[in-house]
C-alpha cells in the first residue's frame, strides 16, 4: 500500500507555530517531519545591550514559560560577573519558578492536552450521579457531588445546543480513539473549567514578588521586592499570608484534582504506554538550588543533573557541557567552516538561509531543509528533555521523592518503569513532577519565613551592580530546568555591554530535525515508534504524542549568532 502524505498545520493547543508532516501506511506512521515555522532572532538584538537588561529581553522569548528565560538570564549574567545572590532571593526565585512549573503543567494537562483524551460531547450522555461516585472514589475534593456534575452537564448541554461551539468547533468528537466512559469525560470537563479559575488565582504569587504575570520582573543580583515587616508597600506579614494561601491552594488542587484525574484517565489509555517513546536518551541539567547555593552546585539541586542513555535507568551518566553541538544539515541556516558534527554553542553561528518553497507551501517533507530549528546533539545523539527526562534522571539516581511519586503511578497502572518511555509516560511524568514541586513550595515558604524571623531580610547584592566593578571582558552561563526541559543561556560581556548571547532551549532539543547522520529528533522519532494514525483527516493520535512534549515553539527558535552579523540570503527552490 502506498504511503499517504499528511500535513497537520497549525498544530493547535501549543505555544507558537508548529507544522507536523508524516507519511502514513496501513494505519501507522512510517515517517515524520517536525517543522518550526517562526523565527524572530532575539539573540542578535542583545548585542550592545546592558547585561542587566538581558533578563527582560530574553524573558520575551516566551510568554507561556514567562519566568524561565528571565531567571536563566540572571544566572548567566551573575555567573559572568561573579555575583552571589542572597539566600532569600534564591528562595523567592524558587517560589516564583516553582509556582510557574506547577501552574504551567496544570494548564497544559487540562487546557492544552486533555481534549486529546477527553471527548467533550460524550460527557453529554454521562450519568452525573455515577460521575460523582467515581470522583469521590478518586479524591476528597469538595466538588464531587452528583448535583455538581449535573450542573456542569446542564451548562454543556445548553452550550452544544446553541450551535455556537467557539473553541470546540470541528473537534474530533466521536473518534474511536476516545476511550473514556461518559462519566469520566464529564469529570474532566468540570475540572477543565475549575482549572481555569485556579490558574488565574495561584499565579498571583508572581504578582506579589514580580509585579505582574505574565512577564513578572526580575533583577540581576537578587530580587527587587524588598522585605520589611513594618511597611505597607513591601513584603510583610500580610503579603506572606497571601503567598501561603496561594501555595496551599496550588498543592491541594494538584493532589486532589490533577493527579487523581491524570491517573484515572491514564488507566483507560494504557496502550499508549507502548506508543510514542522515540529517542531513548534523556537529559536534565537539574533544578532548584538550595538557599545559599547556585545552579552550579550540582550536589544541592533538588532535581539532579545527568543523562539517561538507551533507556537504561541503571546508570545516570554525568553531563558534560563540552559535548553539546548544534547541527544545521536540515535547518534553514548556513554554517561556515563547521564539520558535520556541528558547532558548540560558544562557537555557534546563525546565518538564516531559507531554502524552502515559495509560500503557500504544500509539503515541506520534500525538501532537504525544512525547519527553523537547529539540531542539538549530545555526543552526537539526539536527547529528549522535559519532565520525563527530569523524572527518569532522578529515578535513576535514586531520588526519594521521585521514586515515591513515580512509583505510585506505576503501581496504580500496574506497569513497570519501561512504560515511562512512551507518550503516556511523558504525560504521567509531568504530573508526578507537579506533585513534587507543589509540595516543595511549602518547604521554600517555610525557609523564607524562618530566615526573616532570624533577621535576614536581604534580597539583593549590590556589590557588582555598578559596571565600573566589572572586568573588561567576562563570560558565563546559566542553566535552568524549565517546565519544558533543559535550558541554557550563555553570555559574554565586553566593556560593560553584551558582546555575545546564546540560548539552547528545551523545544530546540525536542523539536530538532534530522542531523547529518539522518537521526530524527525526539518529536519525529516518537511519531514513528509503534505509532497509529487511523484517519489522516482527524489526526488525533499525532496530537496526543506531540502534545505530550508540551511544545513551545517561540522558545526553540530565537537563535542567532550574537557575535556576528546577520547575513540573510534566500534561495528559493520552487
Amino acid at each position: 500500500m502506498a504511503r499517504t502524505k499528511v500535513v497537520v498545520d497549525p498544530i493547535t493547543r501549543i505555544e507558537g507555530h508548529l507544522r507536523i508532516e508524516v507519511q502514513a501506511e496501513n494505519g501507522m506512521i512510517a515517517d515524520a517531519w517536525a517543522s518550526s515555522t517562526q523565527f524572530r532572532g532575539i539573540e542578535i538584538i542583545m548585542n550592545g545591550r546592558d547585561p542587566r537588561d538581558a533578563w527582560a529581553f530574553t524573558q520575551r522569548i516566551c510568554g507561556v514559560c514567562t519566568v524561565v528565560h528571565a531567571i536563566a538570564s540572571c544566572r548567566a549574567v551573575e555567573d559572568a560577573l561573579d555575583i552571589t545572590v542572597p539566600p532569600n532571593a534564591t528562595i523567592i526565585r524558587n517560589l516564583v519558578h516553582g509556582m510557574q512549573t506547577v501552574q504551567d503543567h496544570v494548564i497544559h494537562f487540562y487546557h492544552l492536552h486533555a481534549l486529546d483524551w477527553v471527548d467533550v460531547v460524550s460527557a453529554l450522555s454521562a450519568d452525573p450521579d455515577e460521575a460523582g461516585r467515581i470522583a469521590r472514589s478518586l479524591s476528597p475534593w469538595p466538588n464531587n457531588s452528583g448535583t455538581y456534575f449535573e450542573s456542569v452537564q446542564d451548562k454543556l448541554k445548553k452550550f452544544v445546543s446553541s450551535g455556537q461551539l467557539g473553541i470546540f468547533t470541528n473537534g474530533y468528537w466521536g473518534h474511536p480513539a476516545y476511550k473514556l466512559p461518559p462519566e469520566v469525560n464529564l469529570i474532566a470537563v468540570a475540572h477543565y473549567l475549575e482549572a481555569l479559575d485556579w490558574q488565574r488565582d495561584v499565579i498571583k504569587l508572581h504578582t506579589i514578588f514580580g509585579g505582574k504575570n505574565p512577564h513578572p520582573n526580575f533583577l540581576v543580583g537578587g530580587m527587587a521586592s524588598a522585605i520589611n515587616l513594618d511597611d505597607t508597600g513591601t513584603i510583610n506579614a500580610e503579603r506572606l499570608s497571601d503567598i501561603k494561601a496561594l501555595i496551599d491552594k496550588a498543592r491541594v488542587f494538584v493532589e486532589q484534582v490533577y493527579w487523581p484525574d491524570l491517573l484515572a484517565i491514564a488507566g483507560f489509555y494504557k496502550d499508549w504506554a507502548a506508543i510514542g517513546g522515540g529517542v531513548p536518551n534523556y537529559l536534565s541539567v537539574g533544578e532548584f538550588p538550595a538557599a545559599g547555593s547556585s545552579f552550579r552546585d550540582v550536589e544541592d539541586l533538588y532535581f539532579p543533573r545527568g543523562i539517561i542513555l538507551d533507556n537504561n535507568l541503571e546508570e545516570v551518566v554525568p553531563y558534560d557541557e563540552a559535548r553539546v553541538r548544534e547541527q544545521v544539515t536540515h535547518s534553514w541556516y548556513e554554517y561556515q567552516g563547521a564539520g558535520e558534527d556541528g558547532l558548540h554553542p560558544y562557537e555557534g553561528q546563525t546565518v538564516p538561509d531559507y531554502t524552502g518553497p515559495q509560500p503557500p507551501w504544500t509539503y515541506i517533507q520534500d525538501h532537504d531543509k525544512y525547519t527553523w530549528m537547529k539540531a542539538p546533539r549530545y555526543d552526537g545523539k539526539p536527547m529528549e528533555v522535559g519532565p520525563l527526562a527530569r523524572m527518569l534522571v532522578a529515578y535513576g539516581a535514586g531520588h526519594e521523592g521521585v521514586r515515591e511519586v513515580v512509583g505510585e503511578a506505576l503501581g496504580r497502572l500496574n506497569v513497570g518503569p519501561a512504560a515511562l518511555f512512551s507518550t503516556l509516560g511523558r504525560t504521567a511524568a509531568r504530573g508526578a513532577e507537579t506533585v513534587l514541586v507543589a509540595r516543595k513550595l511549602s518547604e521554600w515558604y517555610g525557609d523564607l519565613v524562618g530566615r526573616i524571623k532570624n533577621g535576614d531580610v536581604t534580597t539583593f547584592n549590590d556589590e557588582k551592580w555598578d559596571p565600573s566593578t566589572w572586568p573588561a571582558t567576562a563570560r558565563g552561563y546559566g542553566y535552568l530546568e524549565a517546565a519544558r526541559g533543559a535550558l541554557g543561556h550563555w553570555v559574554e560581556v565586553r566593556s560593560g555591554e553584551i558582546s555575545r548571547y546564546q540560548c539552547v532551549v528545551p523545544s530546540t532539543w525536542n523539536c530538532s530535525p534530522r542531523d547529518a547522520q539522518g537521526q530524527r529528533g525526539p518529536y519525529e522519532q516518537s511519531l514513528v515508534d509503534n505509532h497509529p494514525l487511523a484517519d489522516p483527516e482527524r489526526p488525533i493520535e499525532i496530537l496526543r504524542t506531540i502534545h505530550s512534549f508540551d511544545p513551545c515553539m517561540a522558545c526553540g527558535v530565537h537563535v542567532l549568532d550574537a557575535s556576528g552579523e546577520l547575513v540573510t540570503s534566500v534561495k528559493v527552490q520552487g
Binding site: 507555530h17 546592558d50 451548562k155 446553541s162 506579589i208 509585579g211 505582574k212
Partner: protein, 391 residues
C-alpha cells in the same frame, strides 16, 4: 471567552435574559455596568445605556490570530481579573478561532477559521497578537503554509474592527528592537483601511481588552484613542501621575540602590531607572492579576512597555531618565510636571519631551511614525529603515 461552558449562552437568547436565567441579579448587573463604565471613563449617567446595549446583545464572533509572538498576551487574557462577572463578559463573545485553546488542529482548524470569516463577514471582531515579519517575503512566520501577512490581510478584510493586542501587534516589540532582523512590524503598519486599536503593553492587562470590546458593543464604535491609537480610558494617564510612590518623588525620597533602606520603605524608584514619567499605562489604576499588585508596587522600576519602541527608547532600563534629574524637591517637580504637560496634546508633548530627549540627543534623527503624527522618540538604531516602506 475562555469560559464557553461556564454558562452557555443559547443562540437567540438576549444577554439580559441569559443573565437572569443564570441568577445574576439586576442590581449586580447594573453595578458591573457601572464599574465597566468607570473603567472606560464614562459618566455614571451612561450606565443604563451600557446595560441596555449589553442586555440586547447576542454573542458576536471573535477571530483571534496569533502571529509572530511569544503567546504572553493570550496568557494575560487567561488571567482576566473579575472572576464572577468577568467570565460573563468574556462569555459575551463566540471565540471562533484561537490556536492556543481550540480543539481542532490543521485543516479542521483552518476550516473553522474560514467558516467564521464567511458567516460573520463584515461583523466579526479581529483580535491580533503578534507582529508581521516583512523580510524575505514573510517566510519568518508561516502558519498553515501561509505567511503571517497574508493571514492578517485576509482576516482584516472582513473584520468590523481590529484590536491589536500587545506590544508585538502594536509595533513589533522585542523582535522589532534594533536591528530588527526579521523586519517585524505592527498591525497598523499593514492594515490602513480599517480602524485599529492598539491595546499596548508587554503584555497588556487583560481588563483593557475586555473593556474595549464592551465599549465597541455598547456604543457601536471603538473608544477614543491617543496619537498612538491607544484607548484613552486605559492609556490616558501617565504612570508618574497616578503612582502610589509619587508623594515620595515629590518629597525627594528616592531608592538609590535596590534593597536599600529607601527600598524597604517603598520610596520612589526614579533614580534606579523608573520610566513611569514617560509611560502612559493603566498599571497603577487597574493593577495586575485581580488587583494584586503592579510592577512599581512590587519594587521594580517601570520598563515603559506600553510605549512604542520601548526596547530601544527606554533602555538601559536601570539608567535614570535624562533631563528629569535633580528635581527632588516639590517645587522643582511641579515645574517639570508643568513642562511635561505643555501643549494641546499633552500626551504627545510629554512623550516627545521625555522619551525622546536622551535618544534624540544621541541619535538626533526623528523618524516619521505611521499616521504621520509627531514621533515620540527616535529608535535606538535606525530600525525604521527596515520597518518602513513595506506597507
Amino acid at each position: 471567552m475562555f469560559y464557553p461552558l461556564n454558562e452557555p449562552w443559547e443562540r437567540g437568547v438576549p444577554l439580559g435574559e441569559h443573565l437572569r436565567r443564570r441568577g445574576v441579579s439586576r442590581r449586580d448587573f447594573l453595578a458591573f455596568c457601572g464599574e465597566m463604565g468607570a473603567m472606560l471613563g464614562l459618566s455614571s449617567l451612561l450606565t443604563p445605556r451600557i446595560a441596555k446595549a449589553l442586555e440586547q446583545m447576542q454573542r458576536p464572533s471573535v477571530v483571534w490570530l496569533s502571529l509572530q509572538e511569544c503567546t504572553g498576551c493570550t496568557e494575560s487574557i487567561l488571567r482576566s481579573s473579575h472572576p464572577t462577572i468577568g467570565d460573563l463578559v468574556l462569555d459575551l463573545i463566540s471565540l471562533d478561532y484561537q490556536e492556543n485553546l481550540q480543539a481542532a488542529a490543521g485543516s479542521a482548524a483552518e476550516a473553522a477559521l474560514h467558516r467564521a470569516m464567511e458567516d460573520h463577514k463584515g461583523e466579526y471582531i479581529l483580535v491580533v497578537t503578534g507582529s508581521v515579519p516583512l523580510a524575505e517575503d514573510g517566510i519568518y512566520t508561516m502558519i498553515g503554509g501561509r505567511t503571517a501577512r497574508e493571514i492578517l490581510e485576509e482576516g482584516a478584510a472582513g473584520a468590523a474592527a481590529i484590536l491589536a493586542v500587545g506590544a508585538c501587534a502594536h509595533f513589533g516589540s522585542v523582535q522589532a528592537a534594533a536591528p530588527n532582523p526579521t523586519r517585524a512590524v505592527g498591525v497598523d503598519q499593514i492594515i490602513k483601511d480599517k480602524p485599529v486599536v492598539n491595546i499596548a503593553g508587554c503584555p497588556p492587562i487583560a481588563d483593557t481588552i475586555t473593556a474595549t470590546i464592551v465599549h465597541y458593543l455598547t456604543f457601536g464604535r471603538l473608544p477614543a484613542v491617543d496619537y498612538d491609537k491607544r484607548p484613552l480610558f486605559a492609556y490616558g494617564a501617565r504612570i508618574h501621575d497616578q503612582c502610589s510612590r509619587r508623594a515620595n518623588f515629590d518629597a525627594g525620597q528616592f531608592v538609590k540602590s535596590f534593597d536599600d533602606e529607601a527600598a524597604r520603605k517603598a520610596w520612589c524608584l526614579y533614580e534606579v531607572g523608573c520610566k513611569g514619567p514617560a509611560t502612559f499605562s493603566p498599571c497603577p489604576i487597574f493593577q495586575w492579576n485581580g488587583e494584586t499588585s503592579w510592577p512599581i508596587g512590587a519594587g521594580h522600576p517601570c520598563l515603559g512597555c506600553t510605549e512604542r519602541m520601548f526596547w530601544d527608547t527606554m533602555t538601559p532600563f536601570y539608567q535614570r531618565m535624562p533631563k528629569v534629574s535633580g528635581f527632588g524637591i516639590e517645587s522643582t517637580a511641579d515645574t517639570i510636571g508643568a513642562a511635561l504637560a505643555v501643549g494641546a496634546t499633552a500626551g504627545v508633548a510629554a512623550h516627545a519631551a521625555v522619551t525622546g530627549v536622551k535618544r534624540l540627543r544621541e541619535r538626533s534623527e526623528g523618524t516619521p511614525q505611521p499616521g504621520g503624527q509627531t514621533p515620540p522618540a527616535a529608535g535606538r538604531k535606525s530600525q525604521e529603515e527596515d520597518g518602513h516602506g513595506q506597507d
